[in-house]
């Protein structure tokens, strides 16, 4: 008993601190959350051709919702769809809709969903047995339709064209776009009528195209809640115990070789497959990951990361300079090996460093790589108009379902011929074989998998980041908000 009495003050102190802590962590409504983005977004339309689709999707996710969604653990959850049911062949999927309203107050119907999905994927067939039911029929079996529909490109968007011909995009999400300056600033106001309950902040504001230096200044001085951080800047932030949200290494950093005969590349021949293979063998991926990516990235040998598929280690990624030299010499006996023009996103200093390192490594095998910055390289349209042999791309991971993610990456890389087969894969072995085929001619050379990182103000709570790097901000709240 005496012993219990002697512990009483300590127990009382712990209880008091717990009460105080609960009080300070309780969500509060109101206020403005300011978030800094490194890149500029020109449109929040999920189907727009954007240089930085990941940033676009972060903005769009506040306004537009998908039929399904993924929780932080990677599991598929209902969203606008309350439940779904496939037929045995997995070619026909039926989705039952929740009761939801667009921001203009109209009820979400099956017709709205069909119209939106038809824009996203015209190759499918859609039907609506009733106002709340949508049936999707695909030409080939699709094993993971719910995971596929959780991708931002399948967001449900109502497109209204006014008399002047301007299109207004209307969503059902927790926030409504209230102010928009393309590439500069976006402000979202809370949707008070959101079916899952009102968001905590009144306003979420994005500042775009902020340089790293400005970010550092604002992090120290400004009232910002969060800011995107390049991976090579994580180390000093960690050393100063800053709050960071770092995703798993999901983004793919890869060299994608462009095909010849486009209008902007007259007479430019595709790089010989042997030279591409030799270049792949010269890369010191570990050095790139350890030094340039500050150990925040991992060397990539496949299109999907090891943590997602479990088989990436089976793709070779070792440096073999002697073999690279032999292959290059073999190629030189048959073709003239011209310098490889490697374009990278000029707005990303990290990509410039990596491209230069690729050039240094390639030089060891006698392959000349000339890196140069391009303003627009990420979209397919942009890539079709640049005069380069290859592009250093950073591709976001859009799904934690391997087949969906691989299909999306194949499509992003212009290797979409095998997409139906990939989406129809039922076993990991099939998926491995599909990925091996995508890599076998070295049109894509994986370099590294990168995480996405965000610096968070200490006042920010409930910042949720999915394994893919996507943000889920519907539960976000900020201390001291008024």
């Amino acid at each position: 008993m005496k012993r219990l009495l002697s512990l009483l003050p300590a127990i009382s102190s712990v209880l008091l601190l717990s009460v105080l802590a609960y009080g300070s962590s309780r969500p509060r409504y109101g206020g403005t959350v300011r978030i800094l983005l490194h890149d500029r977004v020109m449109s929040i339309d999920p189907l727009s051709e954007e240089d930085h689709p990941a940033e676009r999707d972060r903005l769009a996710a506040l306004t537009f919702e998908t039929l399904t969604t993924t929780d932080p653990a990677g599991r598929v959850r209902p969203n606008l769809a309350s439940f779904w049911r496939p037929d045995p062949t997995k070619r026909t999927w039926q989705f039952q809709l929740h009761i939801a309203y667009f921001h203009d107050g109209t009820l979400l119907t099956a017709a709205d969903v069909m119209a939106s999905l038809a824009k996203s994927n015209p190759g499918w067939k859609y039907s609506a047995p009733d106002r709340q039911t949508v049936v999707i029929e695909t030409p080939t079996p699709t094993q993971h339709m719910p995971e596929l529909l959780a991708m931002p490109r399948y967001s449900i968007v109502k497109r209204q064209v006014d008399s002047a011909g301007a299109t207004t995009l209307i969503g059902t999400g927790p926030y409504k776009l209230s102010q928009w300056q393309a590439g500069e600033r976006a402000q979202f106001s809370v949707n008070d009528d959101y079916r899952n309950g009102r968001g905590f902040p009144d306003t979420v504001e994005f500042q775009m195209g902020v340089s790293l230096r400005e970010q550092l200044l604002d992090r120290q001085l400004g009232p910002n809640a969060a800011a995107e951080v390049p991976v090579d800047q994580l180390r000093p932030l960690e050393q100063t115990n800053q709050a960071l949200a770092v995703s798993r290494p999901a983004d793919l950093l890869a060299i994608a070789f462009l095909q010849g005969d486009s209008s902007s590349r007259p007479g430019r021949k595709p790089v010989d497959p042997r030279v591409r293979e030799a270049l792949s063998l010269t890369l010191r991926r570990a050095d790139i990951s350890n030094a340039l990516l500050q150990r925040k990235g991992v060397p990539a040998s496949g299109l999907l990361p090891q943590w997602l598929t479990g088989y990436e280690f089976m793709f070779p990624a070792a440096t073999d300079l002697q073999r690279a030299r032999d292959i290059r010499a073999d190629a030189a006996a048959y073709v003239v090996i011209a310098p490889i023009m490697l374009a990278y996103d000029a707005s990303d200093p990290l990509l410039r460093q990596i491209a230069e390192r690729i050039a240094v490594d390639a030089r060891e095998a006698g392959i000349v790589v000339q890196p140069y910055g391009e303003a627009h390289v990420n979209s397919k349209t942009a890539r079709a108009s640049i005069n380069a042999d290859a592009v250093l791309l950073r591709l976001p991971l859009e799904s934690v379902e391997p087949s969906v993610a691989l299909a999306q990456r194949a499509e992003d890389l212009g290797l979409g011929d095998n997409v139906p087969a990939i989406l129809g894969a039922t076993r990991p072995e099939d998926l491995f074989e599909d990925e091996r085929k995508l890599l076998e001619n070295h049109r894509v050379i994986p370099v590294a998998h990168l995480p996405q990182a965000v610096w968070l103000n200490n006042t920010v709570h409930n910042w949720q980041q999915l394994p893919t790097g996507e943000w889920q901000l519907d539960q976000l709240w900020v201390e001291g908000a008024r």
Binding site: N290, A291, L292, I354, E356, I358, A359, V360
Partner: protein, 605 residues
Amino acid sequence: MSLKTKLLLLVTISITASVGAAAWLIETRAHEAFRQVEEERTATLVSQFRREFEHEGDEIIRGVETTAGSDQMLRTTSELANGAEYANYVNEAATYAATQRLDFLDLIAPDGAIISSAHWPARFGYKQRWFLDRPGPMPDRAFLKHVETQQGSVLAMLCLRAVRIHGLNFYLIGGRKLDAVLQAISPPEGLRVSIYSAPEQGAGELMGPAKEDLSSPKAMELIQKVLAQRSEAAATIDKGADLQEEILHAIPLPGYSDRVPAVLLVGNSLEQELLLEKRIRNISLVIAGVAVFIGVIVSGVVTARVSRPIRKLAEAAGEIGQGNWDVRVETSGKDEIGRLAVAFNQMTQELIGQRERLVQSERVAAWRELARRLAHELKNPLFPLQLTVENLLRARENTPEQFDEVFRESTSTLLAEIANLKTIIGRFSDFSKMPAPQIQAVDLNEMVRSVAQLFQGQLNRDPARIGTELQLGDVPQVSGDPVLLRRVVENLVLNAIDAMPQGGTLTFRTYMNEKFAVFELTDTGAGLTPEECDRLFTPYYTTKQHGTGLGLAIAQSVVSDHHGHISVSSRKDQGTTFHVELPVYSAVTAVESGNGNDGPKFTTI
């Protein structure tokens, strides 16, 4: 060429040579002076470059040493020495380089691996061991070296410093591009500076604002020479256009090893100097031209005055040579020329006297010779005459009965000897009264053939049988008296027969030389000595037992009257050849000459 012309030419050449030498000397001295100025200008610029070079080197050393000694660098190297990952320091060098305004900065691990590179961040992890593998201590001063960059090899001035911590050596290699040194130099007008960068691999290149102007095959040749010999050299570069020459000095710049990494090129345009030299040359030429002109005029007058008495002496000598012994020269002045004229006149006077004495003595000698020959010739028939008359007288006194028979024999002997005397006297008479030739066209071949035929019987007589050979060429008719010429030929044939008592061959030959028709007669007799040949045409000289010695003298007289020429050539025991050259006949001149006594005129073919 006359003496005056020679003197004028000599003086002109002397003046021209003197003036030319003076002009050359002036130009050479001016050229040397300009070159000296040019070298001083170049030396000044090179000195300025070296100052800038050293100043830049000091700046780089200061920057690298400041970095090496900074607390942050010591902390960084300490962490690295304690096992910190190199990857954490990939971007370290960029900050230091920016602070110290260095274009290049590498932080290098003890094993030579690049930990961080300011100018090429992507190169981390690669080894850079050139300074570790170098024998000897590390260079203390800044040095030139080519630095590998993303854009290729760049010439830089570098400084190497070690940061020793926990027993390990980390290295800092920092530096700047050499462009800055070049840009700091402000060459004066006409001078240009460039640096040739010679990397260990790949082609070299010129740096600096004047690189376009200084790139030429000859400049490249000079650079290669300097790189190979590692010593300064210079060359004149012709830039093609007029006065567009340039002296290019190439100076090797030191690197961290014996190899020359770069060459400083200082181009000094010679345009101004050449312009000035051209002006000096033009002025020299004008002065020389005027001097030569005046010199020629003056020397012309002087040589005319000097050469006039000599010319008159020469004319007088020529007159004397033509037989005009009465000529005299003026004796003006008491100089060498005047004394020469006096001596000439004295010499002429003396020659005239000697000639008269010589003619007189020759005349006396001729008469003596004539008297001796005449006495000799007459003495032979007179002795039988005396004997015959004495025999007659003795027969009348001692044997009157045989007197008639003796008388008859003696009178026939007397008549024969008297006839002999008549013949002798006739020959002498003929020699003294040689008739003038009656010139007409003579067929020389026909005449020779006729004479050969005339003597055919005598030549074929045994035992001294003489063969004949006719080698008659295509010769035109000659101008001459056929009777006299025939006598000449016959005389020569008779002499030849006498020269071959044992027989032999007689060759008649005719041909044309440049001017004359030539007749040659060759025997195969005993031949003549040179002395005999010299005296052969002298009157009354003979080599035979019987003969007056007038035959060949008469032949020479006849040929000479025909304006021809006779000569003999002979070698002992190999026979003798007589050459007779006769002028070719011309109808026009024959008509113009009219009477042959006035002497014919001949046309030379």
